[in-house]
Amino acid sequence: MRSPANRRALELLLRAVAFTGLIWLIAGSFMPHQPAGRVSLAEPSRLTLLRQWSLNPPADSLSVKFSTTPEAPVLDWLVALRRAGTGVTWSGAGLAPLALEVESRADPAGGVLVRAGGAPDRSVALRDRLGALDSLRLGRVGGTAIVPAAEGVIVASVHAESVTAVVPVGSPLHRILVLGAAGWESKFVVTALSERGWVVDARLTVAPRLSVTAGSPAALDTSAYAAVIALDSTASGQSDAITRYVHAGGGLILGPDAVNLRAFRDLLPAGPGHAVARPSLLVERVTTRADLPIHDLAPLRPNAVSLELADGHLVAAARRVGGGRVLALGLGETWRWRMQGDESALAAHRAWWAANVAAVAYLPVAGGGKPVNPAPLASLYQALGPPVEANEGASPGGSKSWLVLLSVMVSLLGEWTSRRLRGAV
């Protein structure tokens, strides 16, 4: 830079840069919002702060650190801020995933089925408006609990995290229809469900084209029946009506002697499988459910779930078909368990059949049941994306000011040095 003209031009340029930077910084100081950097919100102040931010955005972008998963209103507010142009990122290393589903049981004995999902091996505490209800341990696929009764809402908690669901109001239960050949199995299925409180209609075949009816069997319809139990091949005559009923939302249970029927192939969750040879002495001396004759239902269909294995054989599987559910059972002659089991067998047989029916029964829900936010952490991810660590989320506005200030100082220093070197004052 030997030419004095060039040197003067450079000094002029440096002075212009310095002045421009200073003007930018002075103007920025009069702007209504300031860069926020990393913002940590305390629970009680969240909504208040968010209301303020809606009127006066604190920065071009925010980084919010959560100590607990935000409630739905907070999340909605942050989403609104983001849509209004404010960048929102979040962090929260200690947030525990938790999801909750609550539904009425299709069971005259009542009860509420609670399903919770979350990190394995966590213990979830359940409470309602009146106090503690139960707890459940989460496994790899979550956990379930049956609560006999609950008042108003059910709150599931893991440490500081909690999810709330309104207890659903179930509609009156419809009837059950049992179809099968007259025999001890059909008799005791009807008996067990009647003892449980179900109104059971039955059509039991005793001779070709001759059936004994119990109750008042009506046309298969979800307005009349909560579930149909087809125990054996005698149900094949009604396969078309049963298929329509299931597609319309009805529940179907297929006994081991019905899963081989070609008429039900499209409905089956598994199988048709094969009977497992067991010592006849064992079958005749049934004392527990484990002693019952087994029909292995494998293979499981892709959209079905396995519900029970016995001696490594698939003995209960279910799937959704249309609006309904189908449960296939591979345990036969369950009446022997009821009759020959120990003192608890009678109640256990009754409860087992009631649980099978509850798993598939059509139950219109009158109201409630939906949590405000069934899976808060999942909703957080869905709304704001994955978390961003605090360093990554540092406000870009802050670095810009620092860079401008540095540029001003460097420019001024450069100009001053140049002037000194050429001997100017």
């Binding site: 050949a181 007259a182 199995e185 059909s186 008799k187 005793v206 001779a207 002697d257 009759m339």
Partner: protein, 203 residues
Amino acid sequence: MSEFVFATAQYESGDWDSAPLVPANVIDSVARYTSLAVAPTGVIVSLGSPDLLRYPLVFLTGHLPVRFSQAESRMLGELIGRGGMLFVDDHNHDVDGVFHRTAIEEIARVAGPLNDLPNDHPLYSAYFHFTGGPPTTSHELNGWGDNLVHKHLQAVQREGRIAVLYSSKDYSSEWNYHPETKRFNSVDNTRFAVNLVVYALTR
């Protein structure tokens, strides 16, 4: 599917095997008139044995005094408590006879008092229709035993179903013949046995 097995109760007191041909005759009728899976032979089961619970319908008859042992009382209570049914027939056809007097006492002690079963009870229309109630036996018409035509059967009912059915009509004599000779009857007198079995299997 398990088949129906006709079981005769063997009890410690009395002559439990006084009508040995009844099982074969009942089995023949069930097989003849229905499509129910039925075992070709009956079984004899001790009333005091846990094996009793393998047979939810049990037939008991005799002429002599009946006294149930502790084990028999307990197993009988289990049978009817779990939904089984006991059919008792007085082989004497005599309300003053020792079987009748002792059997109803024992039944009352184990299961509760017997009451007349209405003649329009579903038992009488479970398969064949018996509009007048229980079919009359030849022993009643012949004036044997107590010289009475019993208009009703008696029963102990639990939750709307028959737990113990008691007959003074002497079906034990009426049905105690070889099934092969049934062809000589103008009306099969074992048809009511089919109703008993169908009722037990469906109610």
